[in-house]
Structures are given as structure tokens and as C-alpha cells.
Symmetry: C2
């Protein structure tokens, strides 16, 4: 690494701007990435000045800076949820002052019942795993800890004026108390092993070091792809998919049970204190729309939201594939997905829209995403509606002959049908890798539609009642 | 209009679904529109049931329903600000239960010092003007008032159970008090002249009427373009643009005043209780970037946000052109725009990206947008940096020959230069039509860059100090 103090200031600025524009220009290419810079540290250790200096050296219009006040980690939402709108998209660089680590520190310092070590370390592990997932999905993460010794901090505290104090938002930590200072230092040691620590006394040196680290990253690391292949074994075809159950149901009995169950489901969904996410996957014409209609039958339209998921938009493609689901899983009390994030390992795999490494890695990413949701106040209910291949053909033809169903069938449905076996394999691998204790799959045979609808409702009742507390 | 009660239910559902899909399919075409349905009314008058029924008849996945709790109109933000994320984009239909009229009613019923009639009516006028702007920008608005007589309301109140009462969120109005009921009725008469009022006693009739109105709109009105041409007169060329001032400035004096002014500006921006929006337009190479750098010089990077505005993204194009600015003007204390919403009447006009009716109408729309911001707690400071044509050529060439400025110059800049006269005309028309008392333009000659920077800072000081209370 170049010696930060020996670089001429104009040259450094020029190099930073050039690297910034090259980074911006790579947007949309195979090397397109974004960069998230987490900045934390002891008060008055020079974070603000370093970022200010960086913004002067770079083109400030393309270096966003966000500073959230702390969010307490209280299991109301996953730790990454408040930051999803700050995560940069391809070509962008964002500096986050407030970030999940400052939330963790604040929570650890301030709750009445402080975290025990294993809870704290559990969070750190979750955070590091999340960052790894970001990196694998083209969001590079750099972490800087600005540090100051106890005596230096006290010296600096004496010299700041009141208005500056206000700006520094001391976040409830009293930096004049040695015990609190030491607590922060002990806690941060538990997560800063992989951080860049900047602790020079001289402000100019700190700012230069910070800038040179970022320059180096933009010029070198940002150009190489970090994704790792994982060991991959294909699963056997899932029997539930190859041998679809055939059942029939008496009509009067059906009506009666349907009525009772829709009422019960509405009651359970409404009264539960958690957020509820219900998700449907399955072959075309398996009856996703009909099942959803029955779930919401007794709900008020203001109580739920349905998201019909199709191909991502251009701007969504410049984010990690899970991003558009991060932003859709915390807005409503009851959220229903007609297709979902599993598109990554279904259509994107089969149609080769994601390369092998990407979709094989996705199972772990999806499991972590779902675990984070379920750990933090969400019930996740996942359905696969299965259908026999001949039955699908029958329904396709029936749709083409029924006026108010014709809009449901397109050439693409017929094309997807030609890849039936590929989808079966993809679904089997999906179940093998994502049927977890905290977010189990319900595979429902839909050859008899009425039977299927009852089973969906029953599965909801069962999962809502069991409750689940993730380890 | 077809008689709602004579239509067979299946046929109505089929017609609604077909209309809904045709509406969705028109997205991206010249007829592409979105539909915003405002639903308000007396409690228990059937709003919820009607929307629920509509969602059953239509494809519920493409009919979004939003229900916000009321926002008080307290001049903290424009009345439309809380709803910008709910405004549908092309092809979408959204039902808004909570909307700006329910906010107005709630505020009028609940503040300690109730609105006088002219304040109330002033809001109504502002709201109607906003809806007109939406319609002209491809967002159709339908407004439904669900009504019930005093005696019917009391009958219904007796028959609901507790859990329903909870759901109905009575918003602080006590519907069992006749005086309050009558107040609501008197107030709503002041804005519901152009609403569709639904007041039948029978729930089935109400729901059908509601659905048939929407069907009719989707099938007929949604297909016709409602935009009106306004009378348009071209302005004379603005002298400040054709005769750019030539000034020079002593270097020592410049340094001294710059230092003093950057400090003063930082202080004023930071201490003011309002949001501050500073906006730059001007020919290429006029020095927008440099001026911005000086403004933020003494600010902390956490205190402001800079938006560099370029061509809208695909998804932004499916919204009114002002939409992407609605969402960027309320997030930060200090927001700086490098280019802005004036793109509509500058580049979009010159490059024929907006048709004549659209850009000619934009002056009024922009004035209303700016007036709403300024009325509700925002200081808006607008700059045009002007430059002589020969001076621009000199700077372009200098940029091409300076390594750390080369990234600033592209072929497009040279192409824009060829349309110099068109841009001068567009800018002159812009000043003639948008230089308002509440948001005046500052035209700054930049042939001497240092002089220009001082003038920008002085203009900020002057506008911040004057203060302005819109009529």
C-alpha cells in the first residue's frame, strides 16, 4: 500500500475521482458492484473529519453519506431491516455512520438487562454472515473503526464547544466516564478483528489513511469477484412431486369446512401479534390465485397486502436479488407472496438467468434471510402447490376456453411446461436445502382443487398454533 | 351507465378483470395510466365492504389497498408528502382509505383552534389543484364518499361488535354524537361536489355501484387523454443571459470573504428550524459542482445530501415527472440538487422528450409544487449559473487537457452546446414563468468563478435572513 503521507494531495484526489468514476461506469457490466462503508468508533476519534475530507477529495455528488440514530435490537425486526434503503446499488458508494454494529453497541450499553456474551456474539455472527451475503451479491463492505485512547479522548472532549457537542450526538454513552469507555472497548473487540482500525493522533494522517484504504479497494479489490463455489450435490426427485395424491371430496362437506376454516384463519392471522408472511410457489395453473382468495376471504382489504412477483425491474437488478423482498416483508401486518425469492433457485436456475455458483449459494442465503425474519417477529408460511403434468394440460386448455380465465394463460406458460422435468429437479433440490425447522415447506397436491384449498387453510392454522421460537 | 343491479355477478367480475388487465397492459404505451381511488365517508357506510367486494371481483393481486392513520395538517410537510409512496405507477390501481381529505377532516375536527372556513377551503383548493396535476400526468383520480343518514348510522352502530369497532378505527370522531356527525357533514359538503356519493341502504347495492363506477372509468375515461393545452406565449430572451457580467476580484479579498461567508452559510443552514432545499441549474461548465463544494465546506457530511439529477430511470418514467423529487425533498435537513425538476422545461423541452402541452403546463405544476414546499416548512433557494458561450468553450477545452477534470467532459456536452440558443430561450421562458415571490431565481454570472461563488453564498445568506411567509 502506498504511504498515505507521501502522496501529494492533488494526486490523491485525482486518483480517488478516477477510481470513483471507473466504479460508477462499471455499473451494468459483469464487474458492476457497489460499496458500503461502515464507519464506527469512539467519539471524537475523527470519523466525521475523515468522511468530510473524503467527500472533498472525491466527487461529493456520488458519495452518499447516511447517519441514522440508533435502532435498538429488540426482536421487532431483523437488524438489517432499517438499513435496506441505504444499501447502495451498483455503481454507488455509501458511507453509513449509524449501522448495525452501532445499534448492537447501543443496545448492549443501554438495555436494562444487558446482553450476555453469547447473545452479543450471536449477533456478530449474524451480521458477518449478512455481510458475506452482500459481498457475494456484488455489494462490497468495508468496515472502519476510529479509535482514540482514554487520555486522548479526554483531551479532545475538553476542547470542543457546545454546538459541536450537539452535532456529535453522544448516543447516550457518557464518554467522560472511564467505565463506559472501557465497556465500549471491550465490546467492540468482539467484532473488530476484520475491521480497519484508524487510531492515529493526527487528524490529517487519519483522513489520509481512510481515503487511501478506500482508493486501494476501488482500484484493486473491487475489480475481482469474491464469490466462492460451494460443494453441490443434486437431490433425488421429491416423491411428493412425482406421485401427486388423488383425492376427492364431498361438496357439502367441503363448503362446510371451508367456511369454518376461512373464519378461523382470519381470526388467527388478525389476532397474532407477529407479522405474517405467506408465500406460494408451484407450477403454473396449480391454483395459487384461488388459494390466496380463500385465505383473505374473511379479512378486511386494509389488513393485508398481496405481492405478485414477476421478473425484477431494471433498477431491482442493480441490487442483491433478495433486496426487493427485504423491502416487502416489513411493511404490512399480513403479506402474501404469489411467487417469491425462490425464483432464484427455480426460474432463474432453469432459464440460466443466474449462474451455477449463484443459485447454489442462494439456498444458504435464503435460509439466513428466513431465519432472520422468523427470529425477529415474523411467522413465515411456505407453500408449494404441486400438480400432475396431465392435469396441468387439462387446466391450460380449459383456461383457453373460458372467457374470464383466458387472461391467465400465455405462450410462456406453454414454454415453461416443456421444461417440466427441470423444474421438478429444481423444486426437489429446493426442498432438500430449504425445508428448515423455522420455515418448513408445505407441499400441497392440487389435482383436487377443493381438497387443496382446505389443506392450505389447515396448514396455516397448524403453523400459527404451533408457534416456533428459533434457537 | 349500466344498471348495477341488473348485471349478473359473474359478468361483472369478468368485465372488471378484463378491464383491469387491459389497463395493466397499456403500461408503457401512450395510453399508459394509473388509477388512484380515494375512499372516504361516514363510519359504517360501507367503504370497507365495497372495497372487499371489489377485490373479490377483480384480480386482488393487482388492486392495492392502503390505509394510513391520519396525518395532521400542521405545516410540517405538504399534505401530499405522506402519500407519495402510495401514488400508483402506470398500470397500477391503488385504493387509499386514509388520504389527504381524511387528514383535512381529522385536523379540522381535532385541533384546539379549529380551521376557519377560508383556511379549510384553501386546503381544498390546493388538493384539487394537486389532483388536476396528477391527472395531467397520467394518474387518474376517482373520489368516493360513502354516506349514511344519522338514523341509519345509529342503527348500524348498535349492531356492531367490539372487534369490529376496533377495526373501524373511529379516528377520534364520536359517531354517536349528533353534533360531531353534523360537523363532519357540513365540512365534507365543502369538498365533495366533484365526488361520487354512495349512500344506498343496501350493502349489495353500494358495493355494485362502486364497482360499476370503476369499471366504467377503466373502460371509457381511462382511455382518453385529459390534458388541456394552456395559452402559451414565448418570452423575450433574458438580458442577464445574453449580457453576462464581467467582473474580476482581488485574490486576497476573495479568500477573506469566502472564508467568512462559508462559515456564515454553514451557521445559518444548521441553525434554521426549516428544511432547506438548494437547487442549481445552468449551462454545462458553469461551475455548479464548485459552488456546491463551497456551500458544504463547513458542514459535516452527515448534515446534508446532494442529489445529482440525470435522466430518469425506467421505473421513474412510470410516475409523474415530479414524483422523484417529491421523495427527495423531505428526507434530509439540507438537500442540494445539481440539476432538478426544471429538466422538464429545459432539456426535455429542447430535446423534445416532453411534448409542447406537457412542458408548457409544467410551469404551473412546478410553481404549485414549490409553493407547497415553501408553505410547509421548507426554504427553497434556486440558482441559475450563467456563462458566456466563448467562456464555456474555453472551459471545455481546459477540461479536456486537465487529467482530474477530463471525466467531467463528454460528447454530450459538445452536442448540448450546439443547441445553445434553444437553451437560452428555454431558460428565459423558465424565469418569466417561475420567478415567484416564494421561490425567486438567483441568476449568477460565472465568467469569473470566484466572484460567482461569493455571490452564491451571499444569495443564500440574504434569502435565509429575509424569511418568507407565503400568503
Amino acid at each position: 500500500m502506498m504511504n498515505p503521507m507521501k502522496v501529494n494531495e492533488d494526486e490523491l484526489s485525482l486518483a480517488l475521482i478516477e477510481a470513483q468514476y471507473a466504479f460508477k461506469k462499471a455499473r451494468g457490466t459483469r464487474n458492476g458492484k457497489s460499496l458500503l462503508i461502515l464507519v464506527s468508533g469512539v467519539e471524537l476519534a475523527g470519523k466525521g473529519e475523515a468522511v468530510k475530507q473524503l467527500r472533498e477529495w472525491m466527487d461529493p455528488r456520488y458519495l452518499r453519506v447516511k447517519a441514522d440514530t440508533p435502532h435498538l435490537l429488540n426482536h421487532e425486526q431483523p437488524f438489517w431491516q432499517p438499513y435496506t434503503s441505504s444499501i447502495p446499488r451498483e455503481g454507488q458508494i455509501v458511507v453509513l455512520f449509524g449501522n448495525w454494529y452501532s445499534d448492537l453497541l447501543t443496545t448492549a450499553m443501554h438495555i436494562n438487562h444487558p446482553f450476555d456474551e453469547s447473545t452479543f456474539d450471536g449477533y456478530v455472527q449474524q451480521m458477518q454472515a449478512f455481510e458475506e451475503d452482500l459481498k457475494n451479491n456484488a455489494v462490497d463492505v468495508m468496515k472502519f473503526w476510529f479509535d482514540a485512547s482514554w487520555s486522548n479522548l479526554q483531551k479532545r472532549l475538553k476542547h470542543i464547544d457546545l454546538s459541536e457537542k450537539l452535532l456529535h450526538r453522544l448516543h447516550g454513552v457518557d464518554w467522560q466516564k472511564k467505565k463506559q469507555y472501557e465497556s465500549v472497548q471491550q465490546l467492540r473487540q468482539r467484532f473488530t478483528q476484520d475491521w480497519i482500525v484508524i487510531d492515529e493522533e493526527d487528524e490529517a494522517v487519519r483522513s489520509r489513511k481512510f481515503a487511501v484504504h478506500i482508493l486501494k479497494h476501488l482500484k484493486h479489490d473491487a475489480l475481482s469477484w469474491t464469490g466462492n463455489a460451494e460443494l453441490w450435490t443434486q437431490s433425488a426427485l421429491n416423491e411428493k412431486l412425482t406421485h401427486v395424491e388423488q383425492k376427492t371430496l364431498d361438496h357439502t362437506l367441503y363448503k362446510k369446512r371451508l367456511k369454518k376454516l376461512t373464519k378461523q384463519v382470519a381470526h388467527l392471522l388478525r389476532e397474532d401479534q407477529r407479522r405474517i408472511v405467506i408465500m406460494f410457489e408451484g407450477m403454473d395453473a396449480a391454483g395459487k390465485g384461488g388459494a390466496i382468495k380463500r385465505i383473505v376471504k374473511k379479512l378486511d382489504p386494509r389488513e393485508y397486502e398481496i405481492h405478485a412477483i414477476s421478473a425484477p425491474e431494471e433498477y431491482e437488478l442493480r441490487h442483491p436479488y433478495l433486496w426487493r423482498f427485504w423491502t416487502k416483508t416489513n411493511q404490512d401486518k399480513i403479506t402474501i407472496f404469489d411467487r417469491s425469492w425462490y425464483g432464484r433457485v427455480l426460474v432463474e436456475r432453469v432459464e440460466k438467468l443466474a449462474d451455477d455458483i449463484a443459485w447454489q449459494r442462494a439456498y444458504g442465503e435464503i435460509n439466513r434471510f428466513e431465519h432472520d425474519l422468523v427470529s425477529d417477529n415474523t411467522v413465515l408460511i411456505k407453500f408449494w402447490l404441486s400438480i400432475d403434468k396431465d392435469e396441468q394440460e387439462k387446466r391450460f386448455k380449459a383456461r383457453e376456453n373460458t372467457p374470464h380465465k383466458r387472461f391467465k394463460i400465455t405462450d410462456e406458460d406453454w414454454r415453461n411446461r416443456e421444461k417440466w422435468d427441470d423444474y421438478l429437479q429444481a423444486a426437489s433440490d429446493m426442498f432438500a436445502n430449504t425445508d428448515t425447522a423455522f420455515a418448513p415447506w408445505h407441499i400441497i397436491s392440487t389435482d383436487d382443487k377443493r381438497h387443496a384449498r382446505l389443506q392450505v387453510l389447515e396448514a396455516i392454522v397448524q403453523q400459527m398454533k404451533v408457534g416456533y421460537s428459533p434457537s
